[in-house]
């Protein structure tokens, strides 16, 4: 029988946290002053367009220079002016590029932002850097989605989700290419990509309730892309152990898989033929599986019944839609990804942190709860 909870005593105990020592008035005043100073500085820091700045400089200089002194006859002045022009031009470009980082679709600077991203990709010479850039840009698109939702500009979601999906797909493709040439790097990146995608799913799930039903379709493709499993986890029985490849028969469908083994593959000591194992791998561009980790399924012995083992939901390969393999958290949601509230607002360009300070990696357990609560 389900136990019923009387919340009253608990709430009464919580009440003991209510009283807080008064805030130090000096600290409060200092905090307020710092905030208003920052507001003032930001207000004044609004970038003036380079052309306007040039016009102002030329206007002032011109008015003085052409009124009598004439700065064509003053080489020093000309040199100073030339330097000033260069500084203004390039300084303005930098300021514009910086300002563009925060722009949303529809903003005139948005094309500057995406153009800079394309340039970064074009300058990147290796798949690893490409994959990292694609992930970074995907995260930016996600921030833009949040910004568009915040601004209720739902009609513009589709373009951004398409760009988001394209970046994710490119990141996965790059990862597959690295797997062939540099398994160690591929392993490191696979983990990063998987973590990012898990975060993306959480964020997108958080955004969805704020989007009207007729516009939610735009987010579905992005969700689907984020749910892509980068690291494949499967349960199987070891059939062949060769130095460069292990053959493993999946317990769920009997398929025989060849898992490539490299010096970066972590293999639990003592594994032998017919052991029931859990294999973490990534799919390389050629479709082969690159082994990341192979370990014996807990509690199994070489003679264990494989079918029985696969019924353990903690060990099973099959996961519900949107779930990630690292969901073995306890009821408190304790886990290494425990984090914060869903994304809102725009993303900062660096560090994957948005304006509410998210790192955007809220964990899986919370999402499950939301789904339950909303059903």
């Amino acid at each position: 029988m389900k136990e019923t909870l009387d919340p009253a005593p608990l709430i009464a105990r919580l009440d003991r946290l209510r009283d807080v020592s008064p805030r130090d008035p000096q600290a409060a005043a200092s905090g307020r002053a710092a905030y208003l100073r920052e507001a003032k500085a930001l207000r004044e820091a609004v970038s003036i367009a380079p052309t306007v700045r040039l016009k102002r400089i030329f206007g002032r200089r011109g008015a003085r220079g052409f009124s009598g002194i004439g700065w064509s006859g003053a080489p020093v002045h000309a040199l100073v002016l030339a330097v000033a022009v260069l500084v203004l031009l390039f300084g303005g470009a930098v300021a514009t590029a910086h300002a563009a980082q925060d722009s949303l679709p529809g903003n005139p600077l948005y094309s500057v932002k995406t153009g800079l991203e394309r340039a970064q990709l074009a300058l990147s010479r290796d798949h690893a850097r490409n994959a990292e850039l694609h992930l970074l840009f995907a995260e930016k698109r996600l921030g833009e989605l949040a910004g568009l939702v915040e601004d209720r500009r739902f009609d513009q979601l589709t373009d951004v989700t398409a760009a988001f999906e394209a970046h994710l797909q490119s990141a996965v493709l790059d990862l597959g290419s690295i797997a062939e040439a540099d398994p160690g790097e591929a392993k490191r990146l696979a983990s990063a990509v998987t973590d990012s995608m898990t975060r993306f799913v959480d964020i997108l799930n958080g955004l969805t309730p704020a989007v009207p039903p007729d516009a939610q379709g735009a987010l579905e493709g992005a969700l689907e892309s984020s749910r892509r499993q980068v690291e494949l986890e499967l349960i199987g029985i070891v059939k062949v152990i060769d130095p460069g490849v292990w053959s493993i028969v999946r317990t769920d469908n009997g398929q025989l898989l060849q898992v490539r083994i490299t010096s970066d593959t972590e293999i639990q000591a003592g594994l032998a033929l017919d052991d029931l194992v859990k294999v973490k791998s990534i799919a390389a561009a050629d479709g082969s599986l690159l082994g990341l980790e192979i370990e014996r399924v807990d509690g199994s012995t070489p003679d264990s019944d494989a079918a029985e083992a696969t019924q353990n939901p903690d060990d099973g390969e099959e996961m519900n839609e949107g779930e990630h393999s690292r969901t073995n958290e306890d009821d408190n949601g304790e886990g290494e990804d425990e984090d914060k509230i869903e994304t809102e607002g725009e993303s900062d360009s660096a560090g994957g942190e948005d304006d509410e300070g998210h790192h955007q990696d809220e964990h899986e357990y919370e999402r499950e709860q939301d789904h339950e609560g909303e059903s």
């Binding site: 008064p22 208003l36 930001l42 914060k340 809102e344 998210h358 919370e366």
Partner: protein, 182 residues
């Protein structure tokens, strides 16, 4: 409703970076946010850092044309909460001796017992998932309505109610465990 309208008017001013509006927002929300931060962080200095960063992010967000759409209060709490979660994760330890007011009455042993009880509650709170924790704190300590909690967490009211129920159950279990004799 008046508060909401006021908030919307304030936000309009804040988006134009009007000093009066920005100052009023700070005056209106920083005291409650400070208490909220102290309850979870336990240290006044950290709570001050949290408030400073929360309002700084708010300013930067406004400058980029972002920031809260309608729910200013929810936005600020969400931002503060995220800072707190980040801090706890970074520090990897729970600060002790929270700066919570003592009644100033009773025997020293009673005061110590009261402090230990508060520490137990706070530690249990910190062991909840972030959303669960925020539901409990906002609802029972900050006095938010379910709708306000839903806005702060960007969830539906139904999801908030459901989460609240589970959070209380988990909190009770955690506190029972802490009180159980070893």
């Amino acid at each position: 409703m008046t508060d909401k309208l006021d908030d919307l008017a304030l936000l309009e001013g804040a988006r134009r970076y009007e000093e009066d509006a920005l100052a009023e927002i700070y005056r209106r929300y920083s005291p409650a946010l400070y208490r909220y931060a102290v309850r979870l962080l336990g240290e006044p200095a950290l709570a001050e850092d949290c408030i400073a960063e929360t309002f700084s992010r708010f300013l930067h967000s406004l400058r980029r044309g972002g920031g809260p759409g309608r729910f200013l209060k929810a936005y600020l709490y969400r931002t503060a909460h995220n800072w707190i979660v980040d801090h706890i994760r970074r520090s990897a330890s729970v600060p002790v001796l929270p700066d919570l007011a003592d009644s100033g009455e009773g025997q020293p042993s009673e005061i110590v017992r009261a402090r230990m009880e508060r520490e137990r509650i706070r530690t249990a709170l910190l062991e909840l998932t972030p959303d669960q924790r925020q539901v409990i704190v906002l609802k029972y300590l900050e006095g938010f309505t379910n709708e306000e909690v839903a806005a702060a967490l960007r969830k539906s009211v139904g999801a908030v109610k459901s989460m609240q129920h589970r959070a209380l159950a988990t909190l009770k279990r955690l506190m029972d465990e802490k009180e159980a004799p070893e």
